[in-house]
């Protein structure tokens, strides 16, 4: 009923292509996060779905109804904006009921709905205040309330938490996720914050320069990135990358070192000889005595992070990070061997970055 299909959405400004043929299938009740760096076209895509912006070509279906040429209010969806965008002259109550007023919903029904949402979001006590008399967090709640009160099943969010402080952001994140579980709405959520994407999403669409690079559950995005961009964009610290040459016998040659990749599951079993990049997360590397691991590197410095520690080592002038316990980090020698967990590593084609 409220599934969303995006079919080859294209958007250009002059000769600048902002969206290249974006395709996405969102099932009903799903929480989808669009993750990408600033300027990659996330807001543009969301605005096109909302109907606030037009696309050059392509088709948008909501609940199997073609809404490509419909006004936003005819698309059965609501939206929460980054700056909240409450109507400054209206009380919270009128902010919530304005849309229904426009739609000529009877007064009694309006009041009932407002009361219900206000209770859900715990903003009952604020109903007679103006937006200027609210804190940022309260404004955000009202903005979410305004979206929910009219909502029939699809909610769009454009970086709704980015103006909140860290603590409030964490709280609201949890609450939004809970709200989603309770209401079962289809939610499309734009952010550049990976933590939000990882924690809230059922599926994440990673965007880069107007393209969806990968659309998958968050854990899969993290563990099996579809290409080098996704691998390096997601995860902190950035994934370790070691460039080498993939030889026909299934080993990665880095200068004189050969890393045996027989433990690695290649995408479709084949591995033609080519230049390739081995990418390993910091927690998938083990410190072993020098010469006992896949490679040997020099310790650069150690960061103690409280719960655990990051050791930064230098390998052929490149800095790699290794996560480990604090005690182990304190006892590190200046030369260390690194053992990669190849079942969790990724190998990418150097030429176009796709996963091998």
């Amino acid at each position: 009923m409220y599934n969303i299909s995006l079919n080859k959405i294209r958007k250009t400004y002059g000769d600048l292509t902002i969206l290249h043929s974006v395709e996405m299938e969102i099932t009903e009740g799903e929480f989808v996060v669009i993750l990408g760096s600033s300027g990659c076209g996330k807001s543009t895509l969301l605005n096109i779905v909302a109907g606030l912006d037009t696309c050059d070509s392509g088709q948008i279906l909501i609940g199997d109804k073609d809404v490509t040429d419909l006004e936003p209010s005819d698309r059965d969806l609501s939206m929460v904006f980054q700056s909240y965008a409450l109507f400054p002259s209206m009380t919270v109550r009128r902010n919530l009921s304005f849309g229904m007023e426009v739609a000529r919903v009877p007064k009694a029904e309006r009041e009932a709905k407002v009361a219900k949402v206000a209770q859900l979001l715990q903003i009952d006590a604020l109903l007679d205040r103006k937006p200027s008399q609210l804190s940022g967090g309260q404004r955000q709640r009202v903005a979410i309330g305004r979206a929910l009160v009219r909502s029939t099943g699809v909610c769009l969010f454009d970086e709704p938490l980015s103006n909140l402080d860290a603590k409030l952001r964490t709280e609201t994140r949890v609450e939004l996720k809970k709200l989603h579980n309770d209401l079962g709405f289809t939610m499309l959520y734009v952010t550049h914050d990976q933590v939000e994407a990882m924690t809230m999403a059922d599926r994440v669409a990673v965007m880069n320069k107007g393209r969806v690079e990968q659309f998958a559950p968050p854990q899969e995005i993290y563990e099996k990135p579809a290409n080098l961009f996704v691998a390096s964009f997601v995860g902190s610290p950035e994934i370790n990358q070691i460039a080498g040459h993939l030889s026909g016998n299934g080993s990665l040659d880095i200068g004189k070192t050969h890393i045996d990749l027989s433990g690695y599951a290649f995408e479709n079993g084949t591995r033609p000889a080519q230049d390739a990049i081995l990418a390993v997360r910091c927690e998938d590397i083990k410190i072993v005595p020098p010469a006992a691991g896949h490679i040997t590197a020099q310790l650069d410095f150690v960061e103690l992070l409280g719960a655990d520690a990051l050791a930064w080592v230098l390998y052929h002038g490149k800095r790699l990070s290794v996560r480990m316990g604090v005690d182990q980090a304190r006892a590190l020698e200046s030369e260390v061997g690194l053992q990669f967990d190849l079942t969790k590593a990724s190998v990418f084609c150097t030429k176009d970055g796709h996963r091998l």
């Binding site: 904006f81 965008a85 109507f87 400054p88 304005f98 849309g99 937006p131």
Partner: protein, 291 residues
Amino acid sequence: MSSPANAAAMPRVAVVGMYAFLIVSALFFLAPFLVILINSVKPMADIRSGNLLTLPSEITFEPWRIAWSSACTGLDCSGIKPGLWNSILITVPAVVISVLTGALNGYALAQWRSRFADWLMLFILIGLFVPYQAMLYPTVKILSGMGIFRSYTGIIFVHVVYGLPYTTLLFRNFYVGVPDEISRAARMEGASFLRTFWSVILPISTNIIVVVAILQFTGIWNDYLLGLIFAGNDNLPMTVQLTNIVNNSRGAAEPNVNMAAALLAAIPTLIVYFVSGRYFVRGIATGAVKG
């Protein structure tokens, strides 16, 4: 912003200097007004004896009474009184209409993001730089064609149209500062352009409305030229009747009556400034919406 409230933080010399400057400027601008005020309550005898700058030998409000109700404007000798009503009838609707149209224009232009909109704004701005005198004759022709030349509708129409470039510019610059997301949110809620303008945008425009209304009020109230040409004999504003009193060739010149009449004509604008001056300053000093 610095204000006299911060005076405590300034060095003493600077404070003295600042007040000296403010007092001198105030005197400079008030002096002509004081001369007019003093002479408007002088008996004619004082004035005939010569010096306009001396204080009156006795204070009389007779010149004010004459100016108000019995001075002659041409053949008609009922003072400036009928002009007051005419001026109100012209100014109030003209101000209301030009504020509303300016706001609507300004909002539309601020919303409309295209090169064409920028060109249109530039065109409207050119209207600010063309002197009225150059537009008079074409305007007369146009209004005659429309059949509203020298009529009540005509004078209001002219004031609204001549004021549009200015009001549009002021409102547009204000609305460019209003976050676009507010209009988008209203659109998501299903509100049309006009509904958004009326229910969401106008209520947050109080400051700029006050500024534009005051500027338009002063401009239209003090207008002489357009009133003379376009209003028609039945709707002549106060300013036109004032000049008629001053220029009346019948009988001897009566400067005290003239000055009283001038003050009478100026009172409404003074009242407007005194009543709304606070909002005016606030409107000019603050930009768009907060919160």
